[in-house]
Symmetry: C2
Subunit: 338 residues, 2 copies
């Protein structure tokens, strides 16, 4: 929370996106659901590609001692920084800001709140001063109290139209091409792919089926409390304020147990927040594969690890060496980023 706040502070005053609401774009490329595309790992450099292929070949060959039955081929992927960028801000925070502004006309009471009014009027000073409490207030106001339908519609309207400031593209076109190839490649080899992200599950589920070919029930993320009731004869689920299950660090293996119920055999991540689920994957009774993405490309994407405000990578890099997890040097190992 503190780190995200620091980013907000650094970026204060910026108008985050040029969101063209109501104008939905058809997703053009990079979709793992494009069935006609050939399944390959062409966007990977030879060395990491061969490592992945060798492992997949070994565990899918029924005559191999490393054979993994299809039912146990569970692959888990972090999202922010692993399948799409998390710089300069996690994309869901950008959504929270944009959505707050969109909702503001219906919430005149927010004008009385210095933090919320500040975000709405492009003055981030009060948010800075209020610390993590202010960020919680922002996300709470932007997300909670909304019904299931309202929230899904808000994300739907935003995700295909908002533009990233650096790349001037919708976020759904900023997914990493090598990773999308990897999702397709694993699927074609009998693996079942899951997202296990610190981001909000509800935020991701709206678009992951189209973008990653991963249905909502295989998207695990942070989640909050909900209310179910019949309103005007209709069943309504509403997002409530309050305790959030944080799907990060030790929360990731716990969520994998809770939502998947099997130990994964493949894990992709990019930060210390993914380290616990990599350990958990490494503890599989099968020969597992862990892949740790290192953001090393300041030109084509972003360069960060230790000195970063989101996606800190330090102890996982050490354990990667000890446990022979594959470290992906994005500059060197990704022929194409997007």
């Amino acid at each position: 929370m503190k780190k995200i706040l620091l980013i907000l502070i650094l970026l204060s005053g910026i108008c985050f996106t040029s969101c063209e609401n109501g104008k939905k774009e058809v997703l053009k490329n990079n979709s793992a659901s494009s069935k006609s595309e050939t399944v390959n790992l062409n966007s990977w450099a030879d060395e990491p590609r061969q490592k992945i292929e060798a492992w997949v070949k070994s565990v899918t060959d029924s005559s191999s001692k490393n054979y993994i039955p299809v039912a146990d081929r569970i692959a888990v992927f972090d999202n922010d920084g692993t399948l799409w960028p998390e710089q300069p801000l996690p994309i869901q925070i950008v959504f929270a800001i944009d959505n707050l502004r969109l909702l503001a006309p219906k919430h005149p009471e927010w004008q009385q709140d210095s933090v919320l009014n500040g975000v709405i009027t492009n003055n981030f000073e009060p948010l800075k001063k209020s610390g993590a409490k202010g960020l919680t207030k922002l996300v709470d106001a932007s997300h909670n109290g909304m019904t299931e339908d309202e929230f899904n519609t808000a994300v739907q309207n935003w995700i295909y139209t908002a533009r990233d400031m650096k790349f001037k593209k919708p976020y759904t076109e900023l997914v990493y091409k090598p990773m999308i190839e990897l999702l397709s490649y694993l699927k074609a080899n009998g693996f079942t792919n899951f997202i296990v992200s610190g981001g909000g599950a509800d935020f991701m589920r709206v678009w992951t089926e189209k973008v990653y070919d991963i249905p909502p029930y295989r998207v695990i993320g942070s989640y909050g409390n909900l209310n179910y009731e019949i309103t005007d004869g209709k069943p309504v689920i509403t997002k409530l304020s309050g305790d959030i299950y944080a799907d990060n660090k030790e929360g990731k293996p716990v969520a994998i147990h809770r939502f998947i119920g099997k130990v994964p055999v493949f894990c992709g991540g990019n930060s210390d927040g993914d380290q616990a689920m990599m350990q958990y994957t490494s503890g599989s009774k099968y020969k597992s594969f862990c892949l740790l993405i290192h953001h090393t490309d300041s030109v084509r994407e972003y360069k960060y690890d230790l000195v970063t405000l989101s996606g800190h990578l330090e102890t996982a890099l050490v354990e990667a060496k000890e446990k022979n997890w594959m470290v992906v040097d994005m500059q060197k190992d990704f022929k194409t980023i997007f």
Copy 2:
């Protein structure tokens, strides 16, 4: 809880199962995963079969106004009383008792506890007297504190060997044949089946893949807190005592949102505990189908609805008439039960 306790009281003193530990049986029949079997609804009487077939035909015909895309064909099923019996006791409670007795030699401290020692020595009087608190203590002692591996192994060893007292068969052979046919039939028509049960998710996940052809990550149930840590260099998940998420009544649609992230279009249940998820299904934007099983066969299975201690069915039966949910009269509509 009170109702389950009452059942325990009624059945006190009974040796619940003849569990032949260590002797695993290969599942012989009734498995939805038997790929070679023809997909049909032959165990259903004509009228309910035709109703199901007509709906499936209507929603899978791409030229129909009722067409449902494959990705949205989400089917949810209660387990106890819907896919297998819940009389005279929910099967997980029988497991809890048997497992407590199996674990007892390693827990001499239980001898000092009148409730636990009573269950172990076939004296249910202390459990009766201690009310719901005692039952919680039983399940807690039997289930919690175990690691993921220990618990899975315990259920695995028990489920294929323990015998139901009335039918003298392993519980996995006491699944309702018409419902297994229905699972296969829906799957063959592009539906994705989920369990949404008040029973413990961890208890079900061990055997549902084999018995229902439903993988663990599509089994939703009640769940508790977990701990993740590295012990002796290995990642270990342990079941903790404490708050339980009760996947029952309003908890079911909330869990469907949390775990599936889509509104179901098909729902099967058998009690008032399933009513909320039926309402939620009925609220789908698509033409949905709800099926409510009424236990009417005292000879081939059990007869109960209002006067029962598990699976109370009253208000859901009223709403079924109002909303045209299909009520299944087991005696009349199931040609075969098991």
